[in-house]
Symmetry: C2
Subunit: 237 residues, 2 copies
DNA sequence: GCCTACAGTCTACATTGTAGACAAGTTGCT
DNA sequence: AGCAACTTGTCTACAATGTAGACTGTAGGC
């Protein structure tokens, strides 16, 4: 066989279409979803697109920017309706949506969480700031003073991200080995030092993340509503 | 000068003491604190210790293990008294301590947050699981049913980590340029799309993370205590 | 003394991100 | 159409990284 046998052995959408930022980012996301963050190298992504790796630099300044792009792409999947008059219901729905999003793209969560730590707020990709702006809008429209809206947002988003991290930590990718692996792992712990953790093994196994998130949100929202002079929302405390 | 001029030009604690895991990890932590995660390469750390980089592999199986070690080291700075009868006060104190810890080691926070995502619970470094076990112990001793203790822990730790991430995101390392940089960043945002965010600039600048954390904890703890049949703790709802 | 184990070093290599020169292809103008 | 300006894609090259494997000390036990 000639050295030029197959120009794009693995996946290549069309034959040789023009590239675009969206195409590149989508491919990157697909790769991360399928094989994890480490698999996302310039060469690998190039190969996945049937293109020279260097070409990618036309669509992302460097690898970090590419990661930001993936973050942005994922966050764009999140729908927010800033005009919903029932802010509590809306926040609750968003929370569940974001949770599902995270479960759908678990490998991207580290990006969502860490990339903002390396970039001052104002310089983040715009798509990343959209949820913040829209939720502020939602709250302000609902009658909160802007500063209070910010407080609510922070408590809410903080809790939400915390929950997602928590849940993903106990999330084992391979559902068959789930219980076995978990117990096996726990079994390794010295019983002297970790009695409670070991005893909780059965409870740990059937973690209902959705219910737990919902409870937390309920507590938080009613608590927030009580502490701040809330608008016409139907608070049942 | 000969090619063997100075064997350890930069920092070298003693002359040439025997290495140990603690020494290596401490140096690694110092390096991360000083220059960020990316600066922690095997060669650089070796140089910092005046040793050949390969020697480090005697004390950490690979780079990932080294990162885990740093996480563990930092978490060990956190003091927990699982015998305190006032669980609410204890949780509140721990929250503030952890927050300060995070502010002291901001570059380590990504590790604290992401490393557990790559390791099934049972296989984490033991030092990392200690807080979990001890808080469970605290709650169970205080009278919670074990399963409820787990719920409380999850809500609590979730919120706590979420808050820390939130706060660090708005934390600008250089305090002089803080306001300027922040506003500058925000100024870049298209006013059409981000009116609320831009308007909140002044509020964003003086973020009182400590107060905000405390309020959140208050809401969460009293909420949790109300929802679960709590023990003799003094709940003031 | 010698022998075994382990600490530390050296050399070497595959893999990564990315700069810079170039080629090929596309678009707009006249 | 024909040329020019620009955009896309490719190639070559290099410095930096993690780490395997062989080697060299050095310390302690007989």
């Amino acid at each position: 066989m000639s050295p030029e046998a197959n120009p794009a052995p693995p996946a290549a959408t069309g034959k040789k279409k023009r590239l675009s930022r969206e195409i590149v980012l989508s491919a990157a996301l697909a790769l991360v979803d399928a094989e994890g963050l480490d698999a996302l190298t310039m060469r690998r992504l190039g190969q996945e697109l049937g293109r020279d790796p260097m070409g990618l630099y036309r669509y992302a300044e460097n690898r970090a920017a590419l990661l930001d792009g993936v973050s942005e792409l994922v966050l764009n999947e999140l729908a927010i309706f800033p005009d919903d008059p029932d802010w509590q219901a809306q926040l609750r729905r968003i929370a569940h949506d974001l949770r599902l999003l995270a479960l759908r793209h678990p490998n991207v969560v580290p990006l969502l969480v860490t990339r903002p730590l390396s970039t001052p707020l104002g310089l983040r990709p715009l798509g990343t700031l959209r949820p913040l702006e829209q939720i502020l809008s939602l709250l302000i429209d609902a009658g909160f003073a802007p500063a209070d809206a910010l407080h609510v947002y922070r408590a809410y988003y903080g809790f939400l991200y915390g929950h997602i991290l928590n849940e993903l930590q106990e999330f084992i990718v391979d559902p068959d080995e789930n219980e076995a692996l978990l117990r096996l792992g726990l079994h390794r712990l010295p019983p002297k030092d970790f009695p409670h953790l070991r005893a909780l093994a059965p409870v740990l196994v059937d973690y209902d993340g959705m219910a737990e998130l919902d409870e937390g949100i309920t507590i938080l929202l009613s608590g927030l509503a009580a502490r701040l002079s809330l608008p016409e929302a139907p608070a049942k405390l």
